[in-house]
C-alpha cells in the first residue's frame, strides 16, 4: 500500500476503479441511511462529517509538509507518508468544494425559479416581472447551451469562440450576455455614483472636530487622484527648498496621502483584519468541533 497515493491510482487499474466505485457507493449508502436514523445519531454523523472534512485543512496546516515535492518522490517514513497524504488530499477537497459550490449555484437558480413560478401561479401583481425573468432565464439557457453545443460540434479547425466564426446562436448569446445582462449590470453599478453624490452633499458637514478631520483627510486623498490639481500643486511646492533639501516635496498631495495611507489607514485596516481573523477562527472552531448551537438541530 502506497500511503501518499491514497487519492489516486494508475489509469484503468483495479485499485482506481475500486476506489471510484466505493467513492460512489459509500456516500450514497450513507446519504440514504442517514434519513432513517434517530436525530441524535444524525447529529453524531453530521458532527463527524464536519470534523473529517474540516480536519483535512486543519491537519494540512499543522502537519509538516513536503517541500519542493516532485511527482516521483516517495515518503521515507510514517510522518512523511501522512504529510504526502494530506497534501494529496487538499486538491481533492478543493475539487469537492468546487463541485458543492457549483451545486449551490444550481440551488440558487432553483430557488429563484420556484419563487417566481409561485408568483405567476398565484397571479401576484408583480407577476409580469416574474414572467419576464423566467423568459430571460430560458432564453439565456437556450442560446447558452446552443452556443456550447455548436462549439463542441464545430467542424475541425473552426474555433467558435472567435467572432469571425460566429453564427446566429453566437450572436444571440452575445446580445443577451453582453448587450443586455452586462449593460444592465454596469448601469446598476453606475447608479451608486449618483447616490454617493447626493449622500455626500447632504451628510458631509463640518459639525465636529472628528468630522473636520475626516473631511480634510478625504479631501487630500481625493485631490491626490485629481491630476488637474495635484500636478500644479506639486510644481508649486517643489520650489520650496532649504539649500539642497527639497523640503516642499513633503507637501505634495501624493506624499501627504502616502503618509496618511501608510501610517493611519493601513494600520487601522490591519487592526480590523486581525479582529476579523480571530473572529473567523473562533467561528471555524465552533463549526469544526460542532459546538455551535445550530449544528445538528
Amino acid at each position: 500500500m502506497i500511503w501518499h497515493n491514497f487519492w489516486t491510482g494508475p489509469n484503468n487499474s483495479f485499485l482506481l476503479w475500486l476506489r471510484i466505485i466505493l467513492a460512489f457507493v459509500i456516500p450514497s449508502a450513507l446519504f440514504y441511511s442517514i434519513r432513517s436514523v434517530s436525530p441524535f445519531t444524525r447529529k453524531i454523523i453530521v458532527a463527524a462529517a464536519f470534523f473529517f472534512t474540516g480536519g483535512v485543512y486543519v491537519f494540512y496546516f499543522l502537519w509538516p509538509q513536503p517541500i519542493h515535492r516532485q511527482p516521483l518522490d516517495i515518503p521515507r517514513n510514517l510522518s512523511e507518508s501522512i504529510g504526502f497524504m494530506l497534501s494529496d488530499s487538499v486538491p481533492v477537497a478543493a475539487d469537492v468544494a468546487n463541485i458543492v459550490g457549483a451545486f449551490l449555484l444550481g440551488l440558487g437558480v432553483y430557488s429563484v425559479f420556484s419563487i417566481h413560478v409561485d408568483k405567476i401561479r398565484k397571479g401576484h401583481r408583480d407577476s409580469p416581472f416574474s414572467i419576464a425573468l423566467i423568459i430571460s432565464v430560458f432564453l439565456m439557457l437556450f442560446f447558452g447551451y446552443l452556443n456550447y453545443y455548436q462549439t463542441l460540434k464545430a467542424p475541425p479547425g473552426v474555433n467558435m469562440t472567435l467572432p469571425q466564426n460566429w453564427h446566429f446562436a453566437q450572436y444571440a448569446r452575445d446580445f443577451l450576455f453582453n448587450g443586455v445582462l452586462q449593460q444592465m449590470d454596469a448601469a446598476m453599478f453606475s447608479l451608486i455614483a449618483f447616490y454617493i453624490l447626493s449622500a455626500a452633499y447632504r451628510a458631509f458637514r463640518i459639525r465636529s472636530i472628528e468630522a473636520t478631520v475626516l473631511l480634510a483627510t478625504a479631501l487630500i486623498l481625493v485631490l491626490k487622484v485629481m491630476g488637474v490639481v495635484a500636478d500644479p500643486w506639486s510644481q508649486l511646492v517643489h520650489g520650496l527648498h532649504f539649500g539642497n533639501n527639497q523640503f516642499g516635496d513633503n507637501f505634495t498631495f501624493l506624499n501627504i496621502s502616502n503618509f496618511l495611507q501608510n501610517s493611519f489607514q493601513s494600520s487601522s485596516i490591519r487592526a480590523v483584519d486581525f479582529g476579523v481573523g480571530i473572529g473567523a477562527l473562533a467561528m471555524a472552531l465552533r463549526l469544526w468541533l460542532s459546538i455551535d448551537k445550530q449544528t445538528g438541530t
Binding site: A94, L197, Y201, N258
Partner: protein
C-alpha cells in the same frame, strides 16, 4: 383654489437643500462630456503602480503567468482598463497566460470577450493577434476560491486538472496540452499571479500563495485600501488602483520610468526605481485610463463643490440663527 406660497427660504437654506435632480443632472453632464474630449492630464504615477509596472516588465519574455480575472462589467469602468493595459504588456512581451476566475461565474466569458476586443485592436494596428490556446488559455471558473488557491499552492496540475478549453482543432482539450501550460509542472514554473479584481480575492491569494510566487494586484478604487496593507508589508509586489492606476500604467507604457526622451527630458521620474524601465514607443498605449481620467477629475470636482456648497449653507444658517437669537 387656494395656492400655498412657498415659504421664503434664506440663501443658506437653499444651499443646503438643492434638489437632488439638479445634482444628478450636473453629475451626468460632467461625467459624460469629458469622455468625448481627448485631454491628456499631467500625471505622476503612484509608487504602488510603479512597482506593479516595474515587476511586470521584469518578467522574462516568453514566460507563463496566471491572470485571475475576477471582474465583470459592473466594474468595467476600472477593471476593464486594468485588464486591457496588463494584457497589452503581456502581448508585447510574448508572455503566455492562463485566465480564470475565483470570484464570478460570468468573469471567464467577460475575459474571453475582452480578449476578442483586444485582438481586434491588434488587427487594426496590423499586429499579430494573441491566439487562444497557443498564447493564452481559459481556465474557467472555480466556485471555491480559498480551496482552489490552497490546491494551487500544492499542485497547479491537480488544481487545474480536468479544465478544458477550445483547441485549434475546434474541440475541447485539457488545458495542460496547450503550449501555454505544457511545460508547467509546479507553481514555481509560473512567474507571477496577476489578479484583476473587484472582490476580496486579494486576501485569498496573499494567504495561500503569497510565499510561493510574485503577486500583482489590479484592484478597483473601493478595494484599494484593503490591498494596500499587503503592498506596504511587502507581501504583494505591486498594486494598481482604480482609474488613476490604469492611467498610471498607460503613462508608464507611453513614457517609461526615469527614461529620457529624444530631448533628454524625463516624463516620469521616480527614486523608487534603480535605473530606468522601458516603454513601448510607437504603439497604442493610451486607452481607457486616458479616456476616463478627465471624467474622473471633473466628477470629483463636482463632489468637492457639492460638499463645499452644503457646508457654506450650513454656516450661513447657523450665522442667521445666532443673529436672530
Amino acid at each position: 383654489m387656494a395656492i400655498n406660497p412657498k415659504p421664503n427660504r434664506s440663501i443658506g437654506e437653499v444651499l443646503q437643500s438643492l434638489p437632488r435632480q439638479w445634482l444628478y443632472t450636473i453629475l451626468l453632464i460632467v461625467s459624460t462630456v469629458p469622455l468625448f474630449i481627448q485631454v491628456l492630464i499631467p500625471n505622476k504615477p503612484e509608487d504602488s503602480s510603479i512597482d506593479f509596472y516595474q515587476n511586470l516588465m521584469k518578467i522574462p519574455d516568453g514566460s507563463v503567468v496566471l491572470l485571475s480575472s475576477d471582474w465583470t462589467n459592473s466594474t468595467r469602468g476600472e477593471s476593464r482598463g486594468e485588464f486591457d493595459a496588463i494584457v497589452k504588456i503581456l502581448m508585447r512581451k510574448h508572455i503566455k497566460f492562463v485566465v480564470y476566475s475565483i470570484a464570478d461565474p460570468q468573469a471567464p466569458q467577460v475575459a474571453r470577450d475582452e480578449m476578442n476586443y483586444l485582438n481586434g485592436l491588434q488587427i487594426q494596428a496590423h499586429l499579430p493577434t494573441y491566439q487562444p490556446w497557443t498564447d493564452w488559455v481559459n481556465g474557467g471558473y472555480f466556485p471555491n476560491g480559498d480551496g482552489t488557491a490552497n490546491a494551487m499552492s500544492i499542485s497547479l496540475r491537480k488544481a487545474f486538472g480536468g479544465k478544458k478549453d477550445i483547441a485549434p482543432n475546434g474541440q475541447l482539450e485539457d488545458i495542460f496540452l496547450s503550449p501555454v501550460l505544457a511545460n508547467v509542472q509546479t507553481i514555481q514554473d509560473v512567474k507571477a499571479l496577476i489578479d484583476v479584481t473587484a472582490s476580496a480575492t486579494a486576501t485569498t491569494y496573499v494567504q495561500k500563495l503569497g510565499q510561493k510566487m510574485m503577486l500583482l494586484f489590479a484592484v478597483t478604487g473601493v478595494m484599494g485600501p484593503e490591498a494596500l496593507p499587503y503592498y506596504s508589508s511587502g507581501q504583494v509586489s505591486g498594486v494598481t488602483i482604480g482609474i488613476k492606476g490604469v492611467y498610471d500604467l498607460e503613462t508608464m507604457m507611453q513614457d517609461g520610468v526615469n527614461l529620457p526622451d529624444a530631448t533628454g527630458k524625463v516624463a516620469v521620474s521616480s527614486n523608487h526605481v534603480v535605473g530606468s524601465i522601458g516603454n513601448f514607443p510607437g504603439m497604442s498605449n493610451l486607452g481607457q485610463g486616458s479616456q476616463y481620467y478627465p471624467a474622473l477629475n471633473a466628477s470629483l470636482a463636482v463632489f468637492i463643490l457639492a460638499i463645499v456648497v452644503g457646508n457654506i449653507g450650513m454656516f450661513m444658517v447657523k450665522k442667521e440663527k445666532s443673529r436672530t437669537q
